[in-house]
């Protein structure tokens, strides 16, 4: 940071940022339905993702009812159990997490945080949302076709996923694959937009190394998604052809329902390689935006600069790159050549190093901070704890040897829910509590928020932590019932009942959160433009909520990095990014030159 001198010319390069021409619609439909405003599109994404996420939440409760109280709900038979498991997984990973983090937060925050009027291609952005909505509708249609949705597990492994006898093979699987293809098309439109906006539409002075980590996280995740989703698209299309046209990309010489089929020469493992070539980066496509957002939440609410900013940026980039060479750790016991294990275990454990660095830096950001225990901060700390826990259990599974007995058990279920479900959801909740005032001009209710946090945080830990241990005992996942399995102790059933009760309580608490969202919209305390005293540009808009075009007449000029909290000598404990050096007030009345530089 030695080069940081308060010289406005060096900090705000005089390059011209071209003004965007925006379409300002006058009708309600133009403003809120066929809107090209990234902020409206963000909320459309968010609401759609939340709605479909609630469906997946209900499915998870049905799954838990069967596991906790087997055969007590006559509606759930083995086929529907697997259908619920499949849809729950697919919806949560793709249609909720990916959509809300990139489509939701990406759309809302990228233009605002970069100091842009809107996304680079507003029309394409609108198209992206409507394509996403279409993909959700196609997916939901799967519930209603004869035979119902697919029950092949969210990984959709062939031959099972397209073989007769598998639930949903008559139509559900087709709709799921088509929906995925449509989703990817929609995402590609949005994703290109996010990348171009970050690279080309930043305001004057907003260098790459002055971007808030939120933008860095979403940016890297988008780049990764643009590279990873095509693998899924290809896999989905080839699987569709195998199903509908009778090709054999993934289908070997085999029997189906006891009868010899016409299939020949395909490779089931090829699908798994394609799927996980997408699937592993997907973990980080969800994680990196969460990493970025949580960095900002911690800095703002601990009133402290993020520790090791440059290291954080590089860690994001390194994780993004490495995540493309670890995919086969999902396949250690898949029957692929076992010698692959050496390579993929090594790359997988290497990725733990930049990830660990991020954790250290978050924790060191708290150290000697001035921590406000606001609701967003509670969720951020909840994320840290959960992520550390889930990350560490990943070291078992990534280490090929330890993975052998643990794969396909509840250890895996516990691990990926901790790291891929609870951790990002913690950040998503934290982010909603954090940015809701900017989106609506009102604060969310604090008491409801705290209840929501504590029940969700403690409840999810009670749900997922013990799962690791029954996995250790060998309890397999994706089992409708356990019957009299000799190696499973009776106490597992007691635990399963307990987990189910915890899950129901946690799920019910989410309704409280939805109520809070609705109630506060009308009755919440007015927030003012910058309730958290944050430095980044979205809090410096002339209007709250920001209007179309974000920044009124003139785009802001950026003079500093986004983490000027607790600058020594400065009067306020935060200096927004757009405050020029000469405007900073110091306690001793002195002025800018040289002061505060580190």
């Amino acid at each position: 940071m030695a080069e940081r001198e308060y010289d406005a010319s060096s900090h705000a390069p005089p390059a011209e940022v071209g003004e965007m021409e925006l379409v300002h619609p006058r009708t309600f439909i133009g403003k809120y339905i066929w809107s090209q405003d990234a902020k409206v599109i963000a909320i459309q994404y968010g609401l759609t993702a939340t709605a479909i996420g609630l469906v997946a939440l209900v499915l998870s409760i049905l799954i838990r009812l069967q596991l906790g109280f087997p055969n007590s709900v006559s509606l759930i038979d083995p086929a529907s159990y697997l259908q619920h498991v499949t849809m729950h997984g697919m919806i949560m990973v793709v249609y909720l997490l990916t959509a809300i983090l990139l489509g939701g937060f990406g759309n809302y925050l990228i233009p605002l945080m970069c100091g842009a009027r809107d996304m680079a291609f507003p029309y394409l952005n609108m198209l992206s949302f409507w394509t996403y909505l279409l993909s959700v509708l196609i997916l939901v249609a799967g519930f209603f076709v004869p035979g119902g949705s697919s029950g092949a597990g969210w990984t959709l492994y062939p031959p099972q996923s397209i073989s007769p006898g598998t639930p949903g093979v008559d139509g559900g699987i087709v709709l799921m694959l088509v929906s995925l293809a449509v989703f990817i098309i929609g995402f590609t439109m949005g994703g290109l937009n996010y990348v171009v906006t970050v690279l080309q539409a930043r305001t004057r002075g907003m260098t790459l190394m002055r971007l808030p980590l939120t933008v860095w996280g979403i940016f890297m995740a988008t780049v990764m998604a643009l590279l990873a989703f095509p693998a899924l698209l290809v896999a989905a299309l080839m699987l569709l052809m195998d199903l509908l046209l009778g090709t054999s990309f993934f289908m070997p010489e085999m029997l189906a329902m006891g009868e010899i089929t016409e299939r020949e020469g395909g490779s089931p493992l090829l699908f798994q390689h394609l799927f996980w070539f997408f699937g592993h980066p997907e973990v980080y496509i969800v994680a990196l935006p969460a990493f970025g957002i949580v960095s900002d939440l911690l800095a703002v609410h601990a009133r402290k600069n993020i520790f090791g900013y440059r290291m954080m940026v590089w860690a994001l980039i390194i994780i993004g790159v490495l995540s493309f060479v670890v995919w086969a750790h999902h396949m250690f016991v898949s029957g692929m050549n076992p010698y692959f294990g050496f390579l993929f275990a090594t790359t997988t454990l290497i990725i733990a190093v930049p990830t660990a660095i991020k954790v250290y830096n978050w924790v060191l950001t708290l150290w000697r901070g001035n921590i406000r225990f606001t609701v967003p901060m509670l969720f951020a700390i909840g994320f840290l704890f959960t992520f550390v826990n889930g990350g560490l259990s990943g070291l078992f599974l990534g280490n090929v040897t330890a993975d052998v007995p643990l794969s396909d058990t509840y250890f895996v279920v516990g691990h990926f829910h901790m790291v891929m479900a609870v951790a990002p959801i913690m950040v998503i909740f934290g982010a909603i509590y954090h940015w809701y005032p900017k989106m609506t001009g009102r604060m969310l209710n604090d008491t409801l928020g705290k209840i929501h946090f504590w029940v969700t945080f403690l409840g999810t830990y009670l749900i997922y932590y013990p799962m690791h241990f029954i996995g250790l005992e060998g309890v397999p996942r994706r089992y409708y019932a356990y019957g009299e399995t000799t190696f499973i102790s009776d106490s597992v059933q007691t635990l399963n009942a307990g987990i189910t009760i915890a899950a129901i309580i946690v799920a019910a608490t989410q309704l409280l959160f939805l109520f809070n969202l609705a109630w506060s919209y009308f009755r919440g305390r007015e927030s003012g433009p910058n309730p958290w005293q944050a430095t980044t540009l979205e809090w410096q808009t002339p209007h709250t909520p920001p209007r179309h075009g974000n920044f009124g007449d003139a785009l802001p000029v950026v003079y500093r990095w986004p983490y000027d909290y607790g600058v020594p000598g400065a009067k306020d404990d935060f200096i927004p990014q757009n405050v020029p050096p000469e405007a900073v007030e110091y306690l001793d009345g002195a002025h800018a030159t040289g002061k505060g530089a580190t």
Binding site: N71, S74, D77, P78, L82, G153, Y157, Q160, S163, G165, E253, M254, L255, M257, G258, I260, G266, S267, P268, L269, R303, F307, V333, G335, G341, N361, V363, L364, G369, N370, I381, L384, F385, V388, L395, F396, V400, T401, P405, S407, D408, L458, P466, F469, L472, E473, R478, Y479, Y480, A481, Y482, G483, E484, T485, T486, F487, Y563, Y565, G566, T598
Partner: protein, 465 residues
């Protein structure tokens, strides 16, 4: 403050849970203690890191709560600290990885003296093949599979002739001898898992995969499927018994070879018809069954199922449970039959006509249809049974018999015997019939299938004429 307390409680609680939870790795029964060691090293290393990070975080929360007067420390980076942390983490990761890779080295190196067993998976049961005296497994392909050649062995490959075939889902392995398990699937992906062995691997159609181990403990273990393979995935079980070498040899010698199965005298339905006269007193002249003496219909049962059940009666795997009164009555008749007699009778019974039965159970066929969705996976949408799934005909069987047997399966009166592998599976599946109403409903639905079947049988007979 609350948050700091929560973090400390969670961290300490998690460690206590680890130490005192009732769930651990199952007692090891193979040579793979190195896998257990890797897991326990991982627990200690990650446990320490978890405690350190969480407690440090809690300390930060306690010490640096918000005070209006105070400022946070402005420290954008601290290169030496970051370098140290990176270095230490890299070392820690290397310490975890190195032993893991070392063990993986032995996992992928099968000892030269390992004997081979082929595990053959299909929806939803296991079969096993030993290479026989020549020590080499014969070539096999899925496209060669039929009722007479369930393993798909190539009849032209001389190595296949002496292969020993185990169709019953019960595998014996000799203790303290390394074994290479070669895995093959007929249909979808499965995974052969015996928890106390630790090692496991997917079974993938179109290729073979393998793993090896040395069983070190005698006893009987349960094999399960650990890769989602369809609706009865959870009921796809087998038994693996680890025994001393002599018992293993004796057992293996009892199992038929491929050549023996091929050269078996064909079953003779005419001879079966004669022998069937011993059965008619109870089961009726056309095997139509008599409710008054609780003798079920036999007509239309496939020979595979029929043979298997009589053998189960013979060995005491069926008809010995104290609550199975009528099964007990059947046992002495079954034990009086020779293997050839059973095969002949089975061939005859298969030819007997399936005629409509009288409804004696009242149930809601519409509700039953939904329940039957699960049954259809193996017994077929029309209830005609599917030999490949070892699933007998249901349509056309007496409804009172079906209800009783389903109840017996559900309550573990039938199907619990360790030698009755497919019965074991049916016990698991019957759990979906949560009450007597469900039993009646599904049986009522099966009754409607019987009428359709009967109608189509009449058509078929006409066509033949």
């Amino acid at each position: 403050m609350a948050m700091a307390v929560a973090l400390i409680v969670l961290a300490v609680g998690s460690v206590l849970f680890f130490l005192f939870s009732p769930w651990h790795l199952t007692p090891l029964a193979s040579n793979w203690e190195a896998i257990d060691r890797t897991i326990s090293i991982s627990f200690w290393v990650t446990g320490l890191v978890f405690l350190a990070v969480t407690l440090f975080m809690a300390l930060a929360l306690v010490r640096f709560g918000y005070q209006k007067q105070r400022r946070s420390r402005y420290e954008p980076e601290n290169k030496p600290l970051e370098a140290w942390l990176t270095g230490l983490t890299t070392l820690g990761i290397a310490a975890l990885l190195a032993p893991g890779l070392f063990v993986w080295g032995s996992f992928v190196s099968v000892p030269e003296d390992a004997h081979e067993v082929e595990v053959v998976a299909q929806q939803w049961h296991w079969g096993f093949r030993f290479p026989g005296e020549d020590g080499t497994l014969g070539a096999a392909r899925s496209s060669l599979i039929d009722a007479g050649n369930p393993f798909g062995i190539d009849p032209d490959d001389p190595h296949g002739q002496d292969d020993v075939l185990v169709e019953n889902p019960r595998l014996l392995l000799p203790v303290d001898r390394p074994v290479k398990l070669i895995l093959r699937s007929k249909d979808v992906i499965h995974n052969f898992k015996v928890a106390p062995f630790r090692a496991k691997m997917d079974v993938v159609p179109g290729q073979t995969s393998y793993f090896w181990l040395t069983p070190t403990q005698t006893g009987e273990f349960e094999a399960v499927c650990a890769e989602l393979c369809g609706i009865a995935h959870f009921a796809m079980r087998a038994k693996v018994a680890v025994v001393e070498q002599p018992s293993f040899d004796a057992w293996l010698a009892e199992q038929p070879t491929y050549a023996e199965l091929e050269s078996l005298e064909p079953a003779d339905p005419d001879a079966g018809a004669e022998r069937f006269s011993a059965c008619v007193a109870c089961h009726g002249p056309q095997g139509e069954g008599q409710q008054a003496i609780n003798a079920p219909r036999l007509a239309g049962l496939d020979r595979d199922y029929f043979t298997r059940q009589l053998h189960l009666f013979q060995s005491g795997a069926r008809g010995t449970h104290e609550a199975d009164r009528f099964g007990q009555q059947m046992r002495p008749f079954a034990t009086s039959l020779s293997d050839q007699a059973i095969r002949d009778i089975a061939a005859y019974v298969e030819t007997l006509p399936v005629t409509p039965t009288r409804d004696t159970i009242i149930g809601d066929a519409e509700r039953g249809a939904r329940l039957y969705r699960t049954c259809a996976s193996c017994h077929g949408a029309q209830g005609a049974g599917m030999a490949a799934f070892k699933a007998p005909r249901l349509a056309g069987m007496n409804d009172w018999y079906l209800v009783r047997q389903l109840r017996h399966f559900r309550d573990g009166i039938r199907g619990r015997h360790p030698q009755d592998g497919y019965g074991n599976q049916m016990v698991d599946m019957a759990q979906i019939l949560i009450d007597d109403r469900a039993l009646a409903d599904v049986t009522a639905y099966i009754g409607t299938l019987a009428q359709q079947t009967a109608a189509s049988n009449v058509d078929a007979t006409r066509t033949e004429e």
